[in-house]
């Protein structure tokens, strides 16, 4: 059967096409807001490009030194406390928007990374070490410490819960 144009466009492009389409609409109806949005986008690009470069370096590094066997030992089903620790610390230390880390996580998942570790990594990205002083300024040290403790705890709870949910098959 012949595929139509929409079927030919892969999912990864659909997202960008929708975004470009929305920008065109904004350009047509509110030119000044569109220009402002475009400059915000350029500013965001400036921030994420160095992080993207870092993500690529990590992927390259993992491809050289980590084969699926090694990966399973560190972040696989039987990784245990070590796996949690790696995911939590990596999540806290990672910078930039969450979506720039998707390529690396996808790569690690394909090599055997547990779903619960992906959740822990993504959740702990909420703890931004360089931004903690700003948070302390607005909310105080006590609140920031208590909040950080609960966030780490819930990253593990959410990881375990999600794994249980994903195992549950809908008939």
């Amino acid at each position: 059967m012949k595929k139509n144009i929409f079927q030919k466009i892969q999912g990864k492009w659909t997202f960008l096409i929708i975004a470009v389409f929305l920008y065109i609409i904004l350009f047509l109806f509110n030119f000044s807001l569109a220009i402002k949005t475009f400059f915000v986008f350029l500013g965001l690009l400036e921030k994420i490009i160095p992080v993207l470069f870092l993500v690529f370096l990590f992927m390259f590094f993992f491809a050289i030194f980590f084969n699926p066997k090694k990966m399973t030992r560190s972040l696989g089903k039987n990784a245990g406390a070590r796996g949690w620790l790696i995911s939590i610390v990596a999540g806290i230390l990672s910078s930039g928007p969450t979506y720039v880390w998707y390529p690396l996580l996808k790569d690690l998942k394909e090599k055997g990374m547990r779903n619960s570790f992906i959740v822990a990594f993504l959740y702990n990205r909420a703890i931004k070490l360089p931004l903690l002083p700003i948070m302390v300024y607005y909310f105080g040290l006590k609140l920031v410490l208590v909040l950080t403790f609960y966030m780490i705890l819930f990253s593990i709870i959410n990881g375990l819960l999600l794994e249980k949910i994903l195992k549950f098959k809908i008939d």
């Binding site: 929305l22 965001l44 996808k106 700003i134 909040l147």
Partner: protein, 141 residues
């Protein structure tokens, strides 16, 4: 480690990395759109001053909008000064960084629909629970 191994690893990494780039640019474009379309004054009008409803509103708002986490701290700090409850602010900040409605299609594409949906729902509920727990713990300490 051979040159061939490094070359193959580079090509493999570059291929899987470049496959994700259109999606990353799409999310960045939509995030920028959110940042400019929603003015800061918008957030003040949303909260109603109810300690049960406000954390839920905070989590919904935080999950739907997108942007740098630092923006959520600043908005949260300013809303706190204007009398919005701490419990609502915490759930707002938490959902801002852990729930991503804008990037949900991209997350589904990478990890699967079920994973992305479940993770975001869990993060949404956690934002409200953590907000309650933090407020409770602070009142005891």
């Amino acid at each position: 480690m051979t040159f061939e191994k490094i070359k193959t690893s580079f090509i493999k990494s570059f291929q899987s990395f470049s496959r994700m780039l259109p999606m990353i640019f799409g999310v960045a474009m939509l995030t920028s759109l959110f940042i400019t379309v929603l003015p800061k004054s918008f957030y003040q009008k949303i909260f109603i001053g109810n300690n049960v409803v406000d954390p839920i509103i905070g989590a919904i708002l935080g999950g739907v909008v997108a942007g740098q986490p630092v923006v959520s701290y600043i908005i949260g700090g300013e809303l706190l000064k204007q009398g919005v409850s701490l419990i609502a602010i915490i759930s707002f900040i938490l959902a801002w960084v852990t729930v991503g409605v804008v990037q949900l299609p991209a997350e589904s594409l990478v990890f699967g629909k079920r994973f992305a949906l479940c993770r975001n729902i869990l993060s949404f509920v956690s934002a409200i629970i953590i907000a309650c727990l933090v407020t409770l713990t602070l009142s005891i300490l």
